[in-house]
Amino acid sequence: MASLAQPVVRRRMSQTNRNTINGVLFAMPWLIGLLVFWIYPTIASAYYSFTKFNAIQSPEWIGFSNYIQLFTADDNFWLAVYNTAYFAIISIPLAIIVSFGLAMMLNAKIRFQTVYRTIYFLPTLVPEIALSLVWVYLFTPGSGLVNVPFDWLGIKGPCWLTCPAWSRPTIILLALWIVGQQIILYLAGLQDVPQDLYDAADVDGANALHKFRHVTVPIMTPVVFFHLVTSVIGALQFFTVPYIMTGGTGFPAGSLLFYSIYLYKNAFQYFNMGYASAMAWLLFMVALLVTLVIFRSARMWVFYAGGENK
């Protein structure tokens, strides 16, 4: 008996070992990548945030000075925080509604479906720099198209990008143009809604609104969840569009000075690497906190078809 069981046990052992070796080998690129491109930089930036560092001389330890200065003596920092929070809080719900809604329509079996999908994806394909410059052009009153309809009506149009009162809402509006990837996510999610649920709802005499409310929305909540989490990070990182639109200045009157732009300026224009690292870590903390809150809230509103929360 023992002599029979022996080889089996040894083989199973070696299979486990082989799995571990294979698992680590296959994951090796990412194990190295995680260490070199994520873990090390994250720790290094935490260290830099406590130093005065211009990237040429070696960093000089100054304790919490960077953080203290950010919180107590830097108006631009608070302006950037305000602008970014304003952008995130308004644009994220709007983006969810717009991309979900458009995906619903683009999922319908209609003619020219492919053409429509391509058109809605179009702004997402245009290089951000070209797109941003076109937007500046279109949304400059007096030369761009934006106020032509107002001229027809004989009303003086808004000042859009050129004055602080309008610039923030305008850039939120513009950001809604680049929801192509989100539309694709919702479209993909909609492929998974089981047809028999709709059929069952039909039998129960549900109308379109009921079906949307009680079938589509619950099944789609995981996609909304994914979108919500990624767009929080996305909004906090909002950089290229406002950077190009304002030529990196955040004009008018600093109303488009987003957190990432101010951070970039500190790091690569003023070479305050330590100060910029402190900003990056504060951003990280906020992102982490918001994400945790969203994850916590998930069990109240995210519905998993399998019945288990992953």
């Binding site: 690129p29 003619r111 429509y116 391509t118 290089p127």
Partner: protein, 297 residues
Amino acid sequence: MAITTDKALANASAARGRLIQKRIRGAIRSVFIHTSLIPIAFVFMLPFLWMLSTSLKTDQQLFTYPPEWIPNPFNWANYPNTVTYITFFLYLRNTLIIAVSATFGALLSCSLVAYSLARIPWPGRNFLFILTVATLMLPFQVTLIPLFLVFKNIGWVGDFRPLIVPHFFGSALYIFLLRQFFMSIPMELSEAARMDGANEFRIYWSVILPLAKAALATVAIFEFIARWRDYLGPLIYLSNQKLYVLSLGLYEYSSQYGREWGLLMAASVLITLPIILLFFFLQKTFVQGIALTGIKG
């Protein structure tokens, strides 16, 4: 007999009635959808149409107010001029080198890692997966400066390596997508291949990858478009003009004297067209690829 036939007939006509009703309702619905989609489609096309229109205008035509949609006459000269105003083809070559290598690297590394996470049971893989998802939550600003300094210290700043090499070491989003997809492939397939004496790499290469074409295509397109459009990376790492990519080249149309709008927009159209075509022909694969990977967890 007669009664049953009558009944059957009545049933049939009722069914036809329902069918017609359904058709009419379907037609009304599609008219409704088209009438909402068309105006919004126009809004979404607006930036591109404006790009196209501006790319065909001379400087004089640019500054008429109200602006005209269809330039009269078409100034086609912007197109041949724009490819010489900046070294367009050199930048195109640079962009392609970076985008193609990075895409290749991402496909290779992410599929290997995803395979490990999805199909090899080993201690620590769940922890690695959590860590992977966690990096999705890390703003790029946190790693930006130390990475820049690392590349600076090893002398890579100024060439393509910082823009290519990291992509050979995995990327959380793609690993996540591919893992979800690989998990949906029945384990029996691997078992059968193992019985036939295939080793793990062989199973990955000849069993799993061929089944994952849609998911791999999705990752490839995402990565290619991302690199094609990337601005911040080249902005930070490239300083030698000979190595510039298209997104940086677009900046050369602006100077202290103003902006060469016509030429800039012509270049923008040229840059955008290839990816529009790519998307148009591949969008089905796209949607399917993501649907199959099951973002829903």
